[in-house]
Amino acid sequence: MNKIPNRQVICDVLLEHAKEDRDIVVLCSDSRGSASLSGFAEAFPTQFFEMGIAEQSLVSTAAGLARGGKKPFAASPACFLSTRSMEQVKVDVAYSRTNVKLIGISGGVSYGALGMTHHSAQDIAALGSIPGMRVYLPSDRHQTRALMEALLQDDKPAYIRVGRNPVEDIYTPDSMKFELDQAVTLCEGDDLAIIACGEMVKPAVEAAKLLAAEGISVQVLDLYCVKPLDRDAVLNSARKVKALVTVEEHSVIGGMGAMVSQLVAEYCPKRVKNLALPDEPAIAGKSQEVFDYYGLNAEGIAKAARELMGR
């Protein structure tokens, strides 16, 4: 089992680049520990800005730093960063086209037992609806690294959401296939497609194995690039299969599944089942307990797939 959370990988990549590129700056909102960015703050104190528990100021200040020629990475719990600061993201980052990379940590139900205040089940819906914002939910540490390396090369706004805990590897450094804004096909199949992002990719792969054993051929798509949505990948899947299942750690309203459904309905109508958190305050518990409760696990995905396939 991998012991390195994706947030740690983000810090590692920034540490590797910050020495050579003194324009890289990191901002936190009393969140350097939970963002795994204490190491960055210690190594590069002049490139680190503590903004206190003030997420609106965090985002606006990052935008100002970008306007002044810096490359800011602003990290804060996804729940607060995405909705309390939504207007700052809309106006100062996206609308003003500043090179701000927003790191939403402890996304989804990572803070499961802390309740709805700390769940970020609306971040894709909120930030994805803003013109010019890109939204990424990498699935494992290797993809997180590749994504960070790619985003360091551009000067456009982006939101990257990662969970709190280590997640099992999907990829290996050698087998890693990564093109920015292109979904990754993890296995091929003709009967059904499972489209997942973030921490839901792993159970999607496991579900495909369960279904394969039952004679259902499943394609699994890692749609880490929720926005811009990889339309070609989604529609190629839809054309090939009889039905699709989407899986995400987000509200069923306005998330990746909703975007996929909208696209499929318009261009290649097929049945789509959205597995996600329901439109209610999510039950409290550890992440896995919450996932199990709502069927966001391999068995839950397989069950939905069987129903779609009439099994």
Binding site: A54, S57, V59, T61, G64, L65, E87, D92, S96, R97
Partner: protein, 278 residues
């Protein structure tokens, strides 16, 4: 070199004429706030700041964020006068498809950041000031806010950060015209305790007559001399300043002048401009 305050005073009235033309032609805008803030923008762009169409795309110039973005007509007038874009562009103000929209738009040459939603500019300016301090450029950052805007909580997050980081290259200006859309600021949400508030957040607090170019210039000179803390200039202004029937009338927050009002206002502004040069 001695500054020509007479010419600067005259320019303020000329800039008001440009703003009036924009609002009258487009039948939309915020003329009252334009007229109160006009001297502040004029003094900053024409006496204080190192920013020109030639250096705007290069590092190291001074910055201005118009946080009270609804006074955009005043900003566009100043930028046009500075040569950032031709005067004919102003004829498209608020017209269908124009980039000269009713709040600052950084697709317009000379505009740093988009604004219009109140309470953002100060924190953005904190970021700019931090960046310029890192750059060692010596560039200064100015942010102009309205007094009604100070009710936004995000202003005080920015104030806290500016004080915390001792940003002496940051100067905030409050256009203290004491009126907002619903009436007097003291009735809507009291702002008279500002001195104590800014001081408590670690700021150097200055006052200036906000429609008096020499007084403003002197306050900005003092802000340059202050080290170890950011400065706020509370500029006591008159909403609608320059046109007697608009002054201190909340209704002129965004009222559009009739043909007759336009003629009267224009005559008065031209008369005052000419008087500055006598």
């Amino acid at each position: 070199m001695e500054k020509n305050y007479q010419a600067l005073r005259a320019k303020s009235f000329a800039l008001r004429q440009k703003a009036l033309d924009m609002v009258y032609r487009a039948k939309t805008g915020h003329i009252g706030g334009d007229f109160s803030v006009c001297d502040i923008l004029n003094v900053l762009y024409n006496s204080q700041m190192n920013v020109t169409p030639e250096n705007f795309d290069k590092p190291g110039h001074d910055h201005l964020i118009l946080s009270k973005g609804h006074s955009v007509e005043a900003l566009y007038s100043v930028l046009c006068d500075k040569g950032f874009f031709p005067e004919s562009d102003l004829e498209t103000f608020s017209q269908f498809g124009s980039k000269y929209i009713g709040h600052p738009n950084n697709k317009v040459n000379g505009v740093e950041m988009n604004s219009g939603s109140l309470g953002h500019g100060l924190s953005v300016s904190v970021g700019l000031a931090l960046a310029e301090r890192m750059n060692g450029s010596g560039a200064r950052v100015y942010v102009v806010m309205g007094d009604g805007e100070l009710a936004e909580g995000s202003v005080w997050e920015g104030a806290m950060a500016g004080g915390h980081y001792k940003l002496s290259n940051l100067c905030a200006v409050v256009d203290r015209n004491r009126l907002q859309i619903s009436g007097g600021t003291e009735e809507v949400m009291a702002q008279d305790s500002q001195d104590a508030r800014w001081s408590a957040f670690g700021w150097n607090v200055l006052h200036a007559e906000g429609n008096h170019v020499e007084a403003l210039d002197e306050a900005f000179e003092q802000s340059r001399a202050c080290s170890g803390k950011p400065t706020v200039v509370i500029a006591d202004t008159t909403k609608g300043y320059g046109v007697s029937f608009m002054e201190n009338q909340a209704v002129w927050h965004h009222k559009v002048p009739t043909d007759e009002e336009y003629q009267k206002a224009m005559e008065e502004l031209k008369r005052k401009e000419a008087a500055c040069c006598e």
